[in-house]
């Protein structure tokens, strides 16, 4: 139906790397943060909770613009990196990865916080009494019992990163093989009025996303923990 050229393959690869890395990094970062947020109701927590959601509020290109300023050669972080002999992060894969992580943060933090809150402390107490240490408890009890929250976090992050292009376009500059992701490519095709290509790629993206989501939800639904 549609031949994928090298440009498409490259974009698919970058997209895939970006989504996978974003999702993984985000889960790693969001889990402890969400855990902390779920533990109490201090003002500090409420503030952090609100701040986490803020990147969502800015138009993506504008957010990309601010990130560009911060991560670029003249920005605080970019300059800091260059001063220790590294490269600034604008127009790099690492840069758009950071942006994606930041941007999707609320999609991961919020459902996890909510899942942790709904969990209650009894399962953790039980696991402790059975000899499970901190990490063990997390892996063997908390994780499976809040799996739903992780699935929501992961799928929202994943899907959102797949579709996001405003931030990426601005900060990444659509450099093939580095920052040119599938959504940017589709956008390009649409801009070029190359609709057959845009449609095909959109369809491809949708099918891919659907299959991924379908598989994840299928597996998840098999393991639903019924509460007696």
């Amino acid at each position: 139906m549609f031949e994928l050229g090298p440009a498409e393959w490259q974009a698919i690869q970058v997209t895939f790397r970006l989504c996978l890395n974003t999702t993984l990094i985000l889960l790693v970062l969001a889990t402890p943060l969400a855990w902390w947020l779920a533990q109490g109701r201090s003002t500090a927590r409420v503030v952090v909770h609100a701040v986490v959601a803020l990147p969502l509020v800015l138009p993506p290109t504008v957010l990309g613009f601010y990130l560009l300023i911060v991560l670029g050669p003249r920005g605080f972080i970019g300059q800091g990196l260059e001063s220790i002999g590294l490269q600034h992060l604008a127009f790099t894969f690492e840069g758009i990865l950071i942006a994606s992580v930041l941007y999707s943060m609320p999609f991961a933090v919020q459902p996890l916080t909510q899942a942790f809150q709904q969990l209650g402390r009894r399962p953790v107490e039980v696991a402790s009494s059975l000899g499970a240490g901190l990490l063990d408890r997390f892996v063997s009890v908390i994780l499976p019992l809040t799996r739903g929250g992780f699935v929501v976090a992961a799928t929202l992050t994943f899907a959102h990163t797949l579709g996001e292009f405003g931030v990426i376009l601005m900060l990444g500059g659509s450099i093939p093989g580095e920052t040119k992701v599938l959504s940017v490519l589709i956008y390009d095709h649409a801009e070029a009025m190359n609709y057959p290509a845009a449609h095909s790629l959109s369809l491809l993206l949708l099918i891919f996303a659907f299959i991924t989501l379908f598989v994840v939800y299928s597996i998840n639904s098999r393991f639903v923990v019924s509460k007696a």
């Binding site: 604008a90 500059g173 659509s174 801009e191 009025m193």
Partner: protein
């Protein structure tokens, strides 16, 4: 070695792709990659370290800005002039005039956002000059860029769009006719380019820049609805 990276205004897409194709025929080893987008965005990117060697803007202001802050290796040079057209998929646009826009049967007119898109400013000027600006106020819808305005028109949601001639000659759009808007109704839209500071240090970039003013390239630009400076 690294490819020649070009940042170009969205309306340059088809013309530039053809020019690049030609250039590569004569320079088989050269790799050229072009990124298209809004000129404002690209200027911002270049200011913040984007790895572009050449910048083909949709106007002169943005290249001038780069030159002023010292990020351009060459002074801005005009490579083409843009023209705007009336275009529609629901009406026979070839016979349309700006005055027709006030007709009640035309409910929506798409233009690019004049606040930042050069072609949008052109459209605004033209309508103002034609004395219909006030009358069409309530019909206007604004695209993020000139191609968005074209897409809005293409979907039929806007009956008429004022778009760049360079877009109207796209094969996809050329199936519908268009009416060229009198150049006297707006100031000339000079599209300028600069070689960035980064590109200035790379010989292949200079070769490509030279190629732009070649007859071949100019021929292509003309064919794609641009006028020459």
């Amino acid at each position: 070695s690294e490819p020649i990276r070009i940042a170009a205004a969205a309306n340059m897409r088809n013309a530039l792709e053809e020019i690049i194709g030609r250039f590569q025929q004569s320079h088989p080893t050269a790799r050229v990659e072009a990124v298209y987008g809004s000129s404002g965005k690209m200027t911002t990117q270049i200011i913040n370290g984007a790895p572009y060697d050449l910048f083909f803007s949709a106007d002169m202001t943005f290249p001038q800005q780069l030159w002023t802050v010292g990020l351009a290796a060459t002074e801005p040079a005009v490579y083409a002039q843009g023209r705007i057209v009336l275009w529609s998929t629901t009406l026979d646009a070839s016979s349309l005039t700006l005055d027709d826009l006030t007709d009640a049967s035309i409910r929506r007119i798409a233009i690019a956002q004049p606040a930042h898109a050069p072609y949008g400013q052109l459209a605004q000027q033209a309508m103002t000059q034609a004395g219909v600006w006030e009358a069409v106020q309530d019909k206007l819808v604004y695209g993020e860029s000139i191609s968005h305005a074209a897409q809005m028109t293409q979907s039929g949601a806007a009956q008429v769009g004022i778009i760049a001639q360079s877009l109207a000659v796209y094969p996809e759009l050329a199936v519908h006719g268009h009416a060229l808007i009198d150049a006297r109704l707006h100031s000339p839209l000079q599209q300028g380019y600069v070689i960035t500071r980064r590109g200035g240090e790379r010989p292949p970039v200079l070769i490509f820049a030279d190629f732009i003013s070649s007859a071949t390239a100019q021929q292509i630009l003309l064919a794609h609805g641009f006028e020459l400076p």
